[in-house]
């Protein structure tokens, strides 16, 4: 799950082309239909932090005059490279799984 979350988060941030904070990302994912019991929004925060630690995202904290501080994440060049690699790997994997599923279905 964490691997897929990483892929999705990198894609969201790459597409946004700007910095986003955790709650904003959670809402963006929700808007794209990422809901349901399997996808907890709380789970994206630790993934964001790990991507940050890995250097695929960069982050900065912005103190808010009211309310909690926001940690803004942006994708790094390294992150874009990883996104490219992982997207390729994901497509191969998806094709493989699709074929396996179709092959396994009795005609």
């Amino acid at each position: 799950m964490a691997g897929l979350s990483s892929l999705v988060l990198l894609a969201v941030l790459a597409r946004a082309g700007r910095e986003m904070y955790g709650y904003e990302i959670a809402k963006a994912l929700k808007a794209e239909g990422a809901t349901g019991p399997l996808f907890k929004q709380g789970a994206i925060y630790p993934v964001l932090r790990s991507l940050d630690a890995l250097g695929l995202l960069s982050s900065r904290v912005e103190v808010q005059a009211f309310g909690p501080p926001r940690r803004y994440y942006a994708i790094t060049d390294e992150g874009r490279d990883a996104l490219g690699d992982w997207t390729g790997a994901w497509k191969d994997m998806r094709n493989f799984v699709d074929e396996a599923l179709q092959g396994g279905t009795p005609a």
């Binding site: 964490a2 709650y23 929700k30 907890k40 709380g42 925060y45 630790p46 808010q64 309310g67 940690r71």
Partner: protein, 301 residues
């Protein structure tokens, strides 16, 4: 509250999350708590028509229960544990004993804080007193109201900055944010009212004023002890090496004579070094006390 009863407030959720993360590295707990709080507070701000309990009940569905979230952070920490440095050293590894203080980063942090506190203290005091007089003087005019608001805001920001300095140098956990607005407080006016009613606004103001005398005291103690220590050791070594009589005790002939002899000078050099350790200990104690003061006035209500 039992562990299995679903939390109905943000504070209860964070407490449950902290509990569920017991044993995890401090930095992980801190990250998890600030992430959860960011989400929950934003959720509350986005839904002014719902109660905190309703939002929490929904958030447990969408965000995850404290136990689930704790598990996510633990898993993440384990995955990352390899090539990355452990976020925080545990306090148990810190050197102890009289001489151990030399390797204690906390002591140096506190010493830097003591030296810095004169400058920050003078600034905080001037800012607060100027702002307060200006505000009170202008309050009878209509322009006084925006000035008052700006001033209150500036006090909160200064308190926040001071909190960051205290946390960085003294290691006392301080808020990274201003006290959160309550649910539904979206309008500027409601926030201003909340800020004025908040005891922390006033205790922060008191703290900023208090920093002048405290800063003077800390700075004086630090500079006096450091210069005595460095002066004694340096002077004694210089006199031993060159024979120039730099250590003098005018009016106390006996001591003056002692410090003209090699054993006396060696003793003085050692005393100077010992004083450096004492200084670091004093800095640690002052740092600890000041951390408590800052905690009480800048954090607690």
């Amino acid at each position: 509250m039992t562990a299995h009863e679903p939390p109905r407030t943000v504070a209860a959720y964070l407490a449950a999350l902290k509990n569920a993360l017991k044993g995890a590295p401090a930095a992980v707990i801190r990250d998890a708590l600030s992430d959860a709080e960011e989400y929950l507070r934003n959720e509350i701000a986005q839904n002014p028509d719902k109660t905190e309990a309703e939002i929490l009940a929904a958030a447990i569905e969408t965000y995850g229960t404290p136990e689930e979230i704790a598990e996510e952070y633990r898993t993440m920490e384990e995955t990352l544990a390899g090539p990355f440095p452990k976020a925080e050293e545990t306090t148990e590894n810190r050197p102890t004993g009289f001489f151990g203080v030399i390797a204690d980063p906390r002591a140096y942090g506190a010493l830097v804080y003591m030296l810095l506190s004169l400058a920050t203290g003078v600034f905080y005091f001037s800012w607060t007193v100027t702002g307060l007089s200006l505000t009170l003087g202008m309050l009878i005019l209509i322009i006084g109201i925006p000035i008052a608001l700006l001033f209150v805001g500036s006090v909160r920001v200064l308190a926040l900055i001071e909190g960051r300095i205290v946390e960085g140098l003294l290691g006392v956990r301080m808020p990274r944010r201003l006290p959160p607005a309550n649910a539904g407080e979206e309008t500027v006016w409601a926030r201003v009212k909340a800020a004025l009613a908040d005891v922390r606004t006033w205790s922060s103001m008191f703290y900023l004023v208090l920093m002048l005398p405290l800063g003077i005291a800390y700075f004086t103690i630090a500079v006096t002890m450091l210069s005595l220590s460095v002066g004694a050791t340096g002077g004694a070594i210089y006199e031993l090496a060159t024979g120039t009589d730099v250590i003098r005790m005018d009016g106390v002939p006996w001591w003056d004579h002692v410090f003209d002899t090699a054993p006396g000078l060696i003793g003085l050099a050692i005393a100077g070094v010992l004083l450096l350790f004492v200084t670091l200990h004093v800095a640690k104690v002052v740092g600890w006390i000041h951390g408590r003061i800052a905690e009480i006035l800048l954090v607690r209500i």
